[in-house]
């Protein structure tokens, strides 16, 4: 399965970005091949509205089955839920650590948004 981790740049040693909708990018990690790649998401940084929805779309397009991030708002959660992507929020530390915890089964996925939308 592919997992998407919110990232500030193309490095596994970098921190897990705490915002989902306005994450600068995503590390897409394949748990089978152990390969990873970086997907830029900067066009969403300055989106006036709907950043979470577009980020949800972006990780769905990458074929991700799970998202590891800090916080997810209601619209982003609804989008990820519709795409049948499991959400693991409140993930901290480096991206590499997050992947290890995920593979060790130490993370639990959430059933709802964990923060309010910024607009509504």
């Amino acid at each position: 399965m592919k997992i998407a981790i919110t990232a500030t740049g193309n490095s596994l040693q970098g921190p897990v970005e705490q915002r989902f909708g306005r994450a600068p990018g995503f590390i897409i990690y394949d748990t089978e091949t152990k390969e990873s790649k970086y997907v830029d998401n900067k066009q969403n940084l300055n989106a006036m509205q709907g950043a979470g929805i577009q980020s949800g779309r972006a990780v769905a397009d990458q074929g991700a089955g799970a998202v590891l991030t800090g916080h997810v708002g209601p619209k982003a959660f609804a989008t990820l839920d519709a795409a049948k992507i499991k959400v693991y929020s409140n993930v901290t530390g480096t991206i590499e650590e997050a992947i290890k915890k995920f593979e060790a089964g130490e993370l639990e996925h959430t059933g709802s948004a964990d923060v309010e939308g910024h607009w509504m």
Binding site: Q49, G50, I53, Q54, G56, R57, A60, K75, A78, T79, A82, A83, K84, W119, M120
Partner: protein, 299 residues
């Protein structure tokens, strides 16, 4: 916006909030009314309308304003994704087996209905706010909109308020929202003149520059009122001189204005010597707009 019949629309705007848009716009409407002009006052600051506090209108009518948003028929939707491609606001998106909507982001442009090849989108109404009409001090027709609490979609409501612009030879004064984003642009768009109210402070200047750039993009004549002109520095005047934006009126900081404001009275009526200046301001604006119309007609 104005026709050949002499209708004129003046929008009162500002980059910065709290500079005195409402104070100036209501004073201008009052001045025009005292001169015997046919004047209509519109409060387009739908997120925080307050002209009515000063104009004390007798409201005659009110109704809900709704916009039409798409509703997905999941039986018909094939998840082709066309609706999501055309939507600039992520209000409709296809993920999984069918399209899903975020009605609060929908600007009701109609694009998704047009591109859907399966006729899978229905229409539902979403209430965004209220529109109220009445008559203010001395019988000035007064219209204002107020968005529903928590609603982010002010622009369609502003369009409804602007339906009341006098196109039959009268003068319309628009109290615009602050800033330079969609609601401010929608409020001033199509006006014959934009009066920018500022204060001589670094914040006032910074936001005035943004507002001047906005009206230039929209191609509308503008002029400046410097409110509380005796506080702060000289940089607003220097900027206006350098950019060729006329300063049409300077109003001093005066405790009597603040006292009248706190009582909900028309603030500038506390300064009797301002009456003539407001009348001159109106005269200057009308002269500028008539000149620019002549120039446009001669082109």
């Amino acid at each position: 916006m104005s026709g050949k019949n002499g209708s004129i629309t003046i929008a009162v705007a500002s980059g910065k909030g709290g500079t005195g848009k409402t104070t100036v716009s209501t004073a201008l409407a009052r001045a025009a009314h005292k001169e015997g002009r046919k004047v209509t006052m519109l409060d387009c600051d739908v997120e925080e309308p307050n002209s009515h506090i000063f104009l004390k209108p007798r409201m005659e009518d009110k109704w809900q304003v709704s916009i039409t948003v798409p509703e997905v028929n999941k039986e018909k939707c094939t998840a082709c994704g066309e609706c999501g491609k055309i939507c600039a606001f992520s209000a409709i998106i296809v993920l999984g087996e069918s399209a899903m909507t975020f009605p609060e982001l929908c600007h009701s442009c109609g694009g998704c209905w047009k591109v859907c090849p399966e006729d899978a989108l229905g229409e539902i109404k979403r209430e965004i706010g209220m529109l109220r009409t009445g008559k203010g001090l001395g019988g000035i027709p007064f219209i204002y909109g107020s968005v529903r609490i928590g609603e982010a979609m002010g622009v369609p409501l502003i369009r409804q308020v602007k339906e009341y612009i006098d196109r039959d030879g009268g003068l319309t004064i628009i109290d615009a929202p602050p800033g330079t984003s969609c609601p401010a642009i929608e409020s001033v768009r199509g006006s014959d003149f934009v009066l920018l109210v500022t204060e001589p402070t670094p914040f006032g200047l910074n936001d005035l520059k943004l507002a001047v750039e906005m009206v230039r993009v929209l191609g509308i004549e503008s002029g400046v009122v410097i409110n509380r002109c005796d506080v702060g520095d000289n940089k607003v005047r220097e900027y206006c001189a350098a950019e060729g934006v006329p300063v049409l009126l300077e109003i001093p900081d005066d405790r009597r204005v603040a006292e009248a404001y706190s009582r909900g009275e028309l603030p500038f009526e506390a300064l009797p010597d301002l009456e003539k200046k407001l009348s001159d301001l109106l005269g200057d604006i009308l002269e500028i707009t008539s000149k620019s119309k002549e120039t446009a007609a001669n082109k």
